[in-house]
């Protein structure tokens, strides 16, 4: 009896053919982020400036009723004003957005970053993280050197629970960390950074989730792909399977769960 049912089921699947083939393209950013939950740890791709910031996804996340989020990124909350200052005469795209939208909404309870704000830019208003703290928001901050952050994320993707690095040895960051002498040099033990969602920027995708990037916009995006339980990529466009040359695919589709076409020029 069960055998017959399975057979009928298989025939049915074969009949509907195309529609059941693997397709990671999701209609909207909102849909792609629908299962993000309170307290989730979110990897934010990009470097912290225009070019590679998953703006469409972060904007959509700021419109969802989720809170107590942990944001992880190099400089994920510098905000639009800092971008305009950094860009000088270049026109920052209207579509640009970052994690500071979430700060403004009080959705963030922890920030793990190498650059929470920048001392070298003097803005009209305080940096978004400074503002949020001054307004009385209770936000924990973990400062992590950029390379250690990248490696902790890569380690999570690669199933490496921890590693030693010379970065930070002899500094404030030694506090509460195991220091080990290896070949006569001090190294700090750093743990893999486990996350629930990775929100990343890419240039093009196919429906298998294979990704290619563009220039320096690859940055943390390719590092974070596959490093969280769920990876969502926003792309400028989707191409037919087979159109991306296997020799140039940077992120194999297995690391990507959902793909959304982004709104606006870039991130």
């Amino acid at each position: 009896m069960a055998g017959t049912q399975i057979r009928i089921f298989l025939i049915f699947w074969r009949l509907v053919g195309v529609s059941v083939k693997m397709n990671k393209i999701v209609a909207s950013a909102r849909e792609a982020l629908a299962d993000i939950f309170n307290g989730a740890v979110i990897l934010c791709g990009g470097f912290g400036c225009v070019g590679g910031m998953p703006s469409t996804l972060l904007k959509a996340l700021s419109e969802l009723p989720v809170k107590n989020l942990t944001l992880v990124g190099n400089a994920p909350v510098l905000g639009l004003e800092a971008q305009k200052t950094a860009a000088r005469t270049m026109q920052v795209p209207e579509s640009y957005a970052d994690g500071s939208l979430l700060l403004k909404n009080g959705q963030v309870s922890k920030l793990i970053a190498s650059v929470p704000a920048m001392a070298i830019y003097r803005l009209q208003e305080p940096f978004p993280i400074v503002k949020a703290l001054q307004e009385g928001q209770d936000i924990e901050i973990e400062l992590v050197p950029q390379g250690t952050l990248a490696e902790r994320i890569r380690a999570a993707r690669a199933g490496i629970p921890a590693f030693y690095t010379g970065t930070g040895a002899g500094t404030l960051l030694e506090k509460d960390k195991e220091v080990r002498q290896i070949d006569g040099r001090p190294y700090l033990l750093e743990y893999a950074l486990k996350a629930d969602f990775a929100l990343i920027w890419a240039y093009q995708a196919d429906r298998y989730g294979n990704l290619i990037y563009k220039g320096t916009s690859r940055t943390f995006n390719a590092t974070m792909a596959g490093a969280a339980a769920v990876t969502v990529a926003e792309v400028a466009g989707v191409v037919e399977t087979g159109e991306l040359d296997p020799e140039i695919i940077v992120t194999p589709g297995m690391y990507v769960d959902r793909v959304v076409v982004r709104q606006g020029e870039t991130g």
Binding site: P93, Q146, T167, T171, T216
Partner: protein
Amino acid sequence: MSMPEGRMDEQTIAMRVAREFQDGMVVNLGGGIPSLACNFVAEGRDVFFHTENGALGYGGTASLEEADWDLFNASFQPVTPLPGMSFFSHDEAFAMIRGGHIDISVLGALEVSEKGDLANWAIGNMKDHNGNVVAWIKTGRFPPAIGGAMDLAAGAKRIIVAMTHTTRDGSPKVVKKCKYEITARKCVSLIVTDMAVIEVTPEGLVLKEAAPGLTPDDIQAVTEPELIVADDLKEVEL
């Protein structure tokens, strides 16, 4: 801001730093004065500029017309492409740094000690804020930011510091002991300032070159540790 007499401008400091770049070297440039050095590579040399956000072999600073949001350096400045350039992810960029594949890292500094300790990520000290980074950032005054400096200082083969010799109010930045938070210990090998070129050696700081018009005494007067004047002391060579 006008520079006191005998001081070199930022472009000139960058020009002097760029003289250290030999043919075939991989060089990473930090923000501020160091980032200017990409424009002064000596004729006939191939120098490969590396940036943390994932490019090797970019050219000079891009003009507004050339600027492309997908080709920036780690100082958020648009740069130009060069034939033979390559792109990679952030973890790869730091494998290059951590793995000792960067020949020279040029960094800005708030302070350098006589032992070559570098302080360049925080204007201040965690102790001033009872060890609480949140309290520090909340003040809004010079929020600390690590960036890639600690990785570069710990991982590159050679660290050159490019900075002004003193703070805006004239205090020495070459000091006996750093009072600001440390980036890495005993990592700096050469200090290039608007007044001098100083080598960090096991014996102490050696004054190798002086800016035009400056005597060793002029430089010593705004330098905390005692300088050893090189036998072959020269005027800064560009």
